[in-house]
Symmetry: D2
Subunit: 350 residues, 4 copies
């Protein structure tokens, strides 16, 4: 299929190029960047040297629509909302990696993003691009809104618990740790190596935008209004997310119960690996051995002492946290094997 990317110079754009470069069905058309028009992509994404022979351009949206079957939008919040209507009108399929169409309720954009969504009608049309929860809808979608990176990890960690009704919905506590690539490629005083290296920086202890997505999806699963106390922290890695989710159970639960629950929920999922081992170095999910891959490692531990289950998920924030969901969605939308171009192991140790 003919693929274009709007916003190809950021980390998400680069990762999309990396993964689609090895996808057997993809033919690149346009890769845009206002800043780097005319530059070869490998000057911005040095890993692509010798792999892709493409230059950034910046044509009109109609030009892009004309030549593409599907357009990926790797734009900042608030930008894609202005592009999507025109693209959809021309019959192009759109996979949006920005947050502009993730939330179903327009009022949630006011709460979490502080702006009024201009096209609430399209929010209904958009499908939340998490295949583990919305596979069939994605197959038929014209507009897929890929989940946020932290949301992906948090939702996949807790989905079985909320689907089963096992846990209380009003006091879920989630701490997420994330690497520096999650902050994007823009330089700032806070992002330079000397100031960012070695931190454990609570950069968003309350009010993180991804909270809205997490609550939305868990509420759908549980049938109740879920409230999540979410905090986000930056740690000294480039790639990777660990979501630590503290859920309080409505009745006592054993390790065996949890195995059964998680195994049942994720049966057949190609990119979910359940990790709760009694030996070895990696006994719970940890993003380290996932680097570069599309896996989401999910684990859990009951804590009878506090009546809690600690649900854990680890992902590569640029793959399963962004581009991986997008490419899984692409495969589903075009009737391909969902794993196409995505089934390889992480790099370990790295």
């Amino acid at each position: 299929m003919k693929v274009s990317i709007v916003g190809g110079s950021g980390f998400t754009g680069g990762e999309l190029l990396r993964i689609l470069a090895c996808h057997p069905q993809v033919e690149f058309k346009t890769v845009t960047s206002r800043r780097y028009v005319g530059e070869y992509v490998h000057r911005v994404h040095p890993n692509l040297r010798g792999i892709l022979d493409i230059q950034f351009t910046n044509p009109s949206l109609s030009k892009i629509a004309e030549e593409s079957d599907v357009v990926f939008l790797c734009t900042p919040a608030g930008v894609s909302v202005n592009m999507v209507p025109q693209l959809l009108e021309t019959g192009v399929k759109v996979i949006d990696l920005s947050p502009d169409f993730r939330l179903k309720r327009a009022e949630d954009y006011e709460r979490w993003y502080g702006w009024r969504h201009p096209r609430p009608d399209l929010l209904e049309k958009a499908v939340y691009g998490l295949p583990e929860l919305h596979r069939d809808e994605i197959r038929n979608a014209d507009l897929v809104a890929c989940p946020g990176c932290m949301s992906t990890a948090a939702i996949l960690a807790m989905a079985p618990l909320f689907k089963s009704g096992l846990v209380e919905s009003d006091r879920v506590v989630v701490d997420v740790m994330i690497g520096s690539s999650g902050a994007g490629a823009k330089p700032s005083l806070a992002s330079i190596h000397a100031e960012r290296y070695g931190v454990i920086r609570p950069y968003k202890p309350v009010g993180h935008r991804h909270t809205g997505e997490i609550e939305q999806e868990l509420s759908i699963l549980s049938g109740e209004e879920v409230r999540v106390a979410f905090s986000a922290h930056a740690v000294n890695i480039v790639r990777g997310i660990l979501a630590v989710c503290h859920c309080f159970t409505r009745k006592p639960v054993s390790v065996r119960d949890l195995w059964k629950l998680y195994r049942g929920f994720y049966r057949g999922e190609p990119f979910i690996r359940l990790v709760r081992d009694v030996k070895g170095i990696f006994r719970y999910p940890d993003p380290k051995p996932i680097v570069g891959s599309n896996f989401c490692d999910v684990g859990f531990e009951p804590d009878p002492y506090t009546g809690r289950v600690v649900a854990l998920a680890a992902i590569d924030n640029l793959v399963k946290g962004a581009v991986g969901n997008a490419v899984q969605s692409l495969n589903l939308m075009y009737g391909l094997d969902e794993k196409t171009g995505l089934m390889y192991p992480g790099i370990h140790p790295v």
Copy 2:
């Protein structure tokens, strides 16, 4: 005063040597290590080369007691409990950096450590060596039990909240992130650089031993039985702890309320810094700029949306998380200025 250290070759022992080397009142007598008898301390602690001209030895406890005014015990769990009685009998003061005398109730050792404490009578005698909470008792103590590193951070983050009765006592959630020095100097498959670098490893999602201390101290402060849902995670730094403590409030609380509460509680404390800034790179506590110093940076953020306060504390796990409390206690026990040998800034950036 004449000082000896039992267990001088580990990270805690090395850090104690580093800090006491610059303490104007300290004269070193014995520094023990069974493994390194006869070696100069700088062969194990390379930063002490040119600073300390001391060799490890391994004399009998009675020999150590005879020549020392005060003995620091940097021994693993379950070891110091066999040394402390003999040392106290000879009139030596003991500062124990191990967990053997931190808990007041003998049954708590069975719950958290899985062994029966042989000398419950001494648990009463021991003072929990956190000067911010037990300054006067430490002044008169013969046996100080220094807090655990994670406990120090968690307790100092939440102490004002529990003292004031502002928060609920039955559903406190605490995630702590810690560097590799917290695991000690013993090699293992899990601790080598290639396997430990770059992780976000949930190494103890439930059942961590420090929970007992935290509950003990918060319960004293609040007058209620506090229950803490605690999880510990290893991150890619060597030194540093961030404690993220989610407390649910009994009534709405503003930023201004919290400033007042924390300012009041910590007024005059030399090593507590309140960090909640609206500008700059370091707006909340972060262990990075604390490296090598005895400060505990404490911060907070109310979250009206979830009825939560996120209380934060950052420390250097080897200083304020271990040796710093020990040296503050030493100063207090000998009537010195509590800050002696401890008042210098962290190294930044590093």
Copy 3:
């Protein structure tokens, strides 16, 4: 083809499993580990969870020979020399990742390894497995001795200079920086994260074993006896090597001359990328954007002031520095496209 791996639990073994897992022609037979007999490979190599369903075993060499077309040896120095004769006798092809057959002259083993090589006859038979220099020989080899990781980088950086006779052969200075995975997976006091993190450790300033290989290959290229002043340093990454090679030229040389020389020498090489850019972040070879890939980035800079060329090469020490050469050799030995299973970009940023 039917493939077995002897020594599958180390980092080289794990990387070989990772790469061969995606190789379309490979069928795994035996993967040995004495330590982990019966364990699934993903317990040791956590990135392979969900990818490979193989257990470590430890059968006899004759059993391995019987069922395999080709055997990879990922054994420590001095081990494979005792296995290779038996394997070759049974007609199995052998790709040895250890140093036991890299040097052509038996006396060089005494100099660099301190032992007398028991089978000098086989040294002639073995082919040095660097396809860029020995492609045709590899095609017909029964025994391939894969180059050392540092040797690969140093040789590929300087090969065009020595082939052309442009540089002096008696005073080459090479500094190599390497990540911690180069030291293997065995725990030691020096390898734990707390002691290894953040170092720039000159662990082998003189006498490094790889010197012999580098001199051997450069001498073949130049027709003169080359002498290399080599030093190796450990730095704070897990994967990656940078070789910095200072060569003194026999006559003045321009950037243009060097471009011509390197372009000519490496024309058509699929895994060599020439990197000397005037813009962008990555203007010279740097292992960072190579992580996980089989590329060797080669660069150069003339220094008229000192009559020097600085030749640079960056690789992933576990891929192009070990397993990548092995798999390229496998492809060549079996008449496959040399790039099979190896042509994908590095992970960036990571």
Copy 4:
């Protein structure tokens, strides 16, 4: 003494504040920053919170001169040259941490910096602020030009070799590895954590400005014109430098010869530690255990095979590589013990 700092918001300024904050004889007057006028220093240097209660200002140079005994200049290249004349005229002593007065020959500024030095007369007056080589001159200086960070390491590694005439002067090869704080606090695409983390980046393989200083000082020591083939590489730490210096000897030399030479040359030096150990983890100089301290660890290894000595030096680039030499000079200029405010161990492990 009354001290002012021009350029207090960079990493060098911050480190100077950190160290002088604990110096018993220093009274701060002005600390300038154009960008941060009115801000408390701890907002830019978060480690100084609770330590220094000073705000950045930006008064006229004459105002600064009036109130100060000594002024430290932490300005970029080419700035202090315009300030020094006025300051000296008012009788203030100046310690310049910029490169503007390091080189003795005006023409060397054209070669290495590309500009014509406006005040060659002052170059004679300036003293190169490396106490190990110019202690007596510093005592009587009005203008001290502190050495570059890499120069400090390279010169101190090789000074004994060149003083003794043991090594050839025309083909010295030096590779220096440095952390990110050496690049300053200014954000750029190349300096963000995601792009800078994990590199081994040969950022200046030829033509580095520090070459001039190194050649100048080694030439003075040897009495011959020394030529240095210098290359600089960025590695994945924040603080620290390792200089690896390959010198070729005029006659064979033993370990014992080198011990004698280095011991003799550095006898009594308070901040030089000779490191060449046969046991332990840190057998050669390595910046890791030096972090935060003023030590320069110096080591060596003869290589009879190549007729080479590898001379090594490790420093903290912000301390002994910048501020430490400045404060040693301050102490010397004012007749204080040279170690005042500087004699404490590095932080280890970190």
